[in-house]
Symmetry: none
Subunit: 352 residues, 2 copies
Amino acid sequence: MIKNIVGEKDFIEYLRGKSATFLLSLSNTETINIEGITQAGLKGFIHLTPTLDAEFVCLGEIRSLKDIPKTNRGVPTPALMTRAVHTLKPFKEIEILNLGLEVTPKVKYFKIHNFNIPPSGSIDKRANIDAEEVFKKGLEFGQKYTPKSDYIILAESVPAGTTTAYATAKALGYSVDGLFSSSFKDSPNSIKEQTVKRALENLSLSDDIFDILGKVSDNMLIFNAGFILGLNGRAPLILAGGTQMAGVLLIVNKILEFMQGEIDSSNLALATTKWVAEDKNSNIKALLEMLSFDINGYYLDFSFSNSKNPLLRLYDTGEAKEGVGAGASLVYGALNGLKSEEIISQVENFFA
Amino acid sequence: MIKNIVGEKDFIEYLRGKSATFLLSLSNTETINIEGITQAGLKGFIHLTPTLDAEFVCLGEIRSLKDIPKTNRGVPTPALMTRAVHTLKPFKEIEILNLGLEVTPKVKYFKIHNFNIPPSGSIDKRANIDAEEVFKKGLEFGQKYTPKSDYIILAESVPAGTTTAYATAKALGYSVDGLFSSSFKDSPNSIKEQTVKRALENLSLSDDIFDILGKVSDNMLIFNAGFILGLNGRAPLILAGGTQMAGVLLIVNKILEFMQGEIDSSNLALATTKWVAEDKNSNIKALLEMLSFDINGYYLDFSFSNSKNPLLRLYDTGEAKEGVGAGASLVYGALNGLKSEEIISQVENFFA
C-alpha cells in the first residue's frame, strides 16, 4: 500500500499504469574518504558504488568490480530492489546522468548524459565545486529534456550524500539538526556532525548561495535543483530518494526565495522507502514541511520481514534504508500491479 | 534468464520494457513436396502451415484448416509459444509479410503487406525465384519501414526452410555441413543432404549471387536480407529464428562482401530458443561466427520440462525446436516480466 508522508494520494494515483523513465544521477565526492562517514559500498572501493549501482540496474550484473557493493555488515545495495522492479515491471527507459564520476559505468546502448563535471572535493576542506556552473547545467538540461515516457523518476547514488545534504541544508540556514538520515543503523552522528561543523567553518559572511553550495554541497544536489527548475513541471517528476532528495528541494526552495521566483510544484513529488519514512533517527516529513511550496511525499509499505534471507532482513533493523531510487521503484512497482512478495522473491533470486 | 549465444547482454537489456512490433514473414516453397523433408505441419496440408501460424498468432484460432498444425508425432507448432506470450504481454503490433503464400491468412484489421511474390519452386528442380526482384522489394520495404513501436521482432514461418537455408549458405560458399537445424528430432540428414546436393548441381560457374539465390533459396531468406540492409539500423531489429535467420545473415554478409559494403550491426540481434541454441545436431553459434560483422545472439533458458502436457515435453527431446518467432517471443516475454511458469501454463491452456 502506498502511503503519504505529506500531501495527498491524487498525484501518485494519476500515475498508476503510466510509463516511466528512470534517470539515475551519479556523482563522487571525496567526502567518502573521511573515516567512518559512510557504509555505502565496499571499503576501499566506495568511490565505485555509483558506477556499480548503475551497471547493476541496467544489466543485472556489475562490471567494474567483482561483487555487488555491500555495507560492512553485509547489507546489499538498495539497487537490488530497483533492479528487481525493473526485471518484473520494466521502466520504459533508463538513462544515466554522469555528474562527476571517477569511473564511467561500463554499459552500452543505455544513454549516458555527460556534463563534464569533475568529482567534488571533501566538504571538510571545501568541496571546490563551480556551483553556479553545475546549477546552470542542470537548469539547461531540465529546460531541454523531454522524457520518452509519461513521467520521470529521478534517482541518485552518491556515497556520503546524506552528509553533504545535511551540510548543505544547514549552510543554507535551515534548522535541520537530527533530521537527516544515514546509511548506518546507528547513525555515526559524531563523525557526521564534526564533518558538517568543519564544512561550515569554511563559510564566510560574504558568500552568496552559489559560494556556499560550492563549499559544502555535492554535484548531485546542485545539478538536480537546477534540473527541477529547468523542467518546471513540463512532465511529472518523482524525486526518488530520502533526505538527500529533500536536500535538493531545500536548495530549490532557497534559490526561489533568493530570486523571488515561484515554482508550480503540482507535477512534483518525492518517493522514498518505509525505512526512511518511518526512521526514528531522521525526519523527512519535517524537511519537506520546511518548503514554501506544496509537495507530495510517498512511500510503499514494503519490508523484508517476510524474506528468508537474513541479509535482506537487516534493512528492517535500520541498515542501508534507501538509495538508487529504491523507494520510488517500489512505489512504481506497486503502481503497476506488483506484489511485495514478488519483489522480495526477485531480490532473493539475485543471491541464488 | 536470458543467455548469450554470441555478443553481450547490453543490447537486449536496453530493450527491457520497450514495445515491439512483431513482423511475421511467410512464404511457401515447393521443396516441402520432397517426401520426408519437413514435419512442420499436417501431412497433405504443410503448405498451409505459415497461413495457419499467422492466424493463430493474430487471433488465437485457425481458420484455413480445422486443427493446429502438428508434426507427425504430434508436436504442436511453436506458434503456441508466440501466441502465449502475445496473450500475456502483447506485442504492440503484429503485421504480416506475404512473401509468396499459397493461401492468404484469413485475418481482418491486421496489416498484411503484399509484395506480389509467387511461392517458390522446389530447390531440387531450381526454385525459380527472381531473386534480385525479391531482394529489391525487401530493400525498399526496409528503407521506408518505420515501426509504430520501439523495436522490431522479425519472425518467419516457412516449411522446409532449414533445407533452403542450408542449401543457400552452402551455395554461397560457406562451409556449413552439419550446422543447420531441422524440425525433426532425428534430423533427416540423408533426404536433406540429397536435396541440397541436387540443388547445388543446378548451379553453374557463371552464376552471380542472385542467380544462385534464385535457384537454391526461398523468398523469406532473400527478402529479409534486403529488409535488413534497407532498414540499416534505423530501429532495433531482432531476427526471430534459428538457423534460418542465421541463413538470412549469411546472405547479408555475402551481399556486403560482393558490394564491398558495410553494415552498422549495433542495432541488430538474433534471438532463438534453447532447443536451437543448445542443439547437438546443429550449431547456430558457428554460423553467427562466420559473419564479418558483430552480432548479438540470445535465447531464454526456457523449456517445457515442468509441463504436465507430454506433447509439450516433446520439445525437450528435440522435436520442433523453433519457428514463428517462438524464441524471440520468449525473450520478449522475459524482458517484460513474464515468468516461464506463466508461459507454460498459457500454452497448456490452448489444449484445454
